[in-house]
C-alpha cells in the first residue's frame, strides 16, 4: 500500500485548497484574535481597568480623609492591596504578551500555553480569594469610622466583629468558588486538551 501516492491523490481532491482572495487575507490579519491568550489578555485588561479605577478611588478617599489617621490607615491598606493586585496583573499581562508567539516548536508552544494559562487561573483565584473580601471588610470599616465610630470601637464591638466575620467567612468562599467555576467552565476542557498533547510529546 503506497501511502505517499494516496496522500498525493488526497491533496489533489479532498484537501485541495480553494483560492484564497487577497481581501480575505487582509480582513483576517486585521481582525482581533479569537485564541485563548487573546481571551485572557482581554480579561486581564478589564481587570486592570477595574483595579486602576478602585486604586484611584482609594487614593481619592485617602486624600479626602487625610486628617483622620484611622481612615487614612484603612485606605492605605486598601490601596496597598490593590497596588499589589495591579503589580500582579501587569506582570501577568507582560508574560502573556511575550508568550503569544506561535512560531516555536510544538512542544514548547503547548507547554508555554499550558503553564501561562494555569498561572493566570491561579492568580485569578488568588485575587478572588483575597481582594474582594478585603475590599468589603475595609469598606465596612470605612463606613463605620466615617459614621463617627473609632476603629478601636468597631474592632472591639462584638456585633461589628460578627458582621465582619460573616463577611469574611461567607464572601471569601463565594468569590473563590465563583472564580473557580468561571475558570473551570472557560478553560478546564482546553487545559485537558493541552495536557494530553503535551504528554504525547514527552
Amino acid at each position: 500500500m503506497d501511502l505517499q501516492q494516496e496522500w498525493q491523490l488526497l491533496q489533489e481532491k479532498q484537501l485541495r485548497a480553494p483560492v484564497l482572495p487577497e481581501a480575505d487575507i487582509l480582513i483576517a490579519i486585521h481582525c482581533d484574535s479569537q485564541g485563548p491568550i487573546a481571551a485572557l489578555l482581554k480579561a486581564l485588561r478589564w481587570r486592570l481597568f477595574f483595579i486602576c479605577s478602585f486604586l484611584l478611588f482609594g487614593l481619592v478617599l485617602m486624600a479626602y480623609s487625610w486628617y483622620n489617621p484611622e481612615l487614612r490607615l484603612l485606605m492605605a491598606i486598601f490601596d496597598g492591596y490593590y497596588f499589589l493586585g495591579l503589580l500582579m496583573t501587569v506582570q501577568q499581562l507582560f508574560r502573556l504578551q511575550r508568550s503569544s508567539n506561535l512560531d516555536n516548536n510544538l512542544r514548547f508552544t503547548l507547554t508555554t500555553y499550558y503553564r501561562v494559562i494555569k498561572n493566570a487561573i491561579r492568580i485569578d483565584e488568588m485575587i478572588g480569594l483575597f481582594m474582594y473580601p478585603i475590599a468589603l471588610v475595609l469598606g465596612y470599616l470605612y463606613a463605620g469610622v466615617d459614621g463617627g465610630d473609632s476603629l478601636h470601637h468597631i474592632l472591639t464591638n462584638p456585633q461589628d466583629l460578627f458582621i465582619l466575620l460573616v463577611v469574611v467567612m461567607v464572601f471569601s468562599p463565594i468569590f473563590h468558588i465563583f472564580v473557580r467555576w468561571v475558570n473551570r467552565k472557560a478553560f478546564s476542557k482546553y487545559l485537558v486538551q493541552l495536557k494530553q498533547n503535551i504528554d504525547l510529546l514527552e
Binding site: 487575507i25 486538551q193 510529546l201
Partner: protein, 198 residues
C-alpha cells in the same frame, strides 16, 4: 526630499491609526491606495502556500464554523509572527509550524471527538476505486491522536525525521519510532477496511 519624508511619516501615522482604531475595511482601503510592501509580500506567500493551512485545518477540525474561525486565526497569527521570520527555514516550513501551533492551541467550540468516527463510518461501496483508498487514508489519519497526526502529515508531505523532530520538539529517535508506529496503524486500518467493504 522633504516632501517625501513628510509623506512617509504621514503614511506611517495613517497605517498605525488604521491598524489601531479603524475597521478592517478601512485598512484594506489604505492598503489599496498607498500599498504596503510587507503586507503584499505576506499575502503573496500565503496565497502560494494556502494549501498547508487548508490541509492542517481539515485534518483537525470537522465543524465548518470552527474551520472558518481557525482559518482566520492562522492567518492572523502568521501575520503577527511574520515580522520575526528570519528565513532560517523555508516559508513553507515556517507556515506549517505556525499553522500546527495555532490549530493545536486553539479552543475548538464545536469539537467532534475523533474517537466516535470509526463506529459511525461505513466503508465506501467500491473499494477498488482509487479515491476511496485515499478517503480511507484521510479517515485513518483523523483517527490517530493529535500528535501522531502531526508526525504522519509532515512525513507524507516530504519532511525527514530530523525536520519533524524540529517542528514537533520531539527528539529524532522518538519521532522516528512514533512515525513508524503511526504508519503501521494506518496501514492496518486501511487493510481492515478493505477487508470489510463489500
Amino acid at each position: 526630499m522633504g516632501n517625501a519624508v513628510i509623506f512617509s511619516n504621514l503614511y506611517t501615522l495613517i497605517c498605525i491609526l488604521t491598524a489601531a482604531f479603524i475597521t478592517p475595511k478601512a485598512a484594506i482601503f489604505f492598503h489599496q491606495t498607498f500599498g504596503m510592501t510587507q503586507e503584499q509580500a505576506f499575502v503573496q506567500l500565503v496565497q502560494r502556500n494556502a494549501g498547508i493551512i487548508h490541509k492542517v485545518i481539515h485534518l483537525y477540525v470537522d465543524h465548518p464554523e470552527d474551520r472558518r474561525d481557525l482559518y482566520q486565526e492562522v492567518l492572523l497569527q502568521a501575520w503577527k509572527s511574520y515580522a520575526a521570520f528570519k528565513g532560517d527555514s523555508t516559508f513553507t516550513t515556517w507556515l506549517y509550524r505556525v499553522t500546527l501551533n495555532t490549530v493545536l492551541t486553539y479552543r475548538r467550540k464545536n469539537r467532534i471527538p475523533t474517537a466516535e468516527l470509526p463506529d459511525k463510518w461505513d466503508p465506501p461501496s467500491n473499494p477498488s476505486a482509487q479515491s476511496d483508498q485515499s478517503e480511507w487514508l484521510l479517515l485513518a489519519i483523523k483517527q490517530l491522536n493529535e500528535i501522531d497526526r502531526v508526525i504522519i502529515t509532515l512525513h507524507l508531505d516530504g519532511y525527514d525525521n530530523e525536520e519533524i523532530a524540529g517542528i514537533t520538539g520531539l527528539n529524532k529517535n522518538t519521532a522516528t519510532v512514533r512515525l513508524h508506529r503511526a504508519k503501521q496503524v494506518i496501514i492496518q486500518k486501511m487493510k481492515t477496511w478493505q477487508g470489510v467493504s463489500p
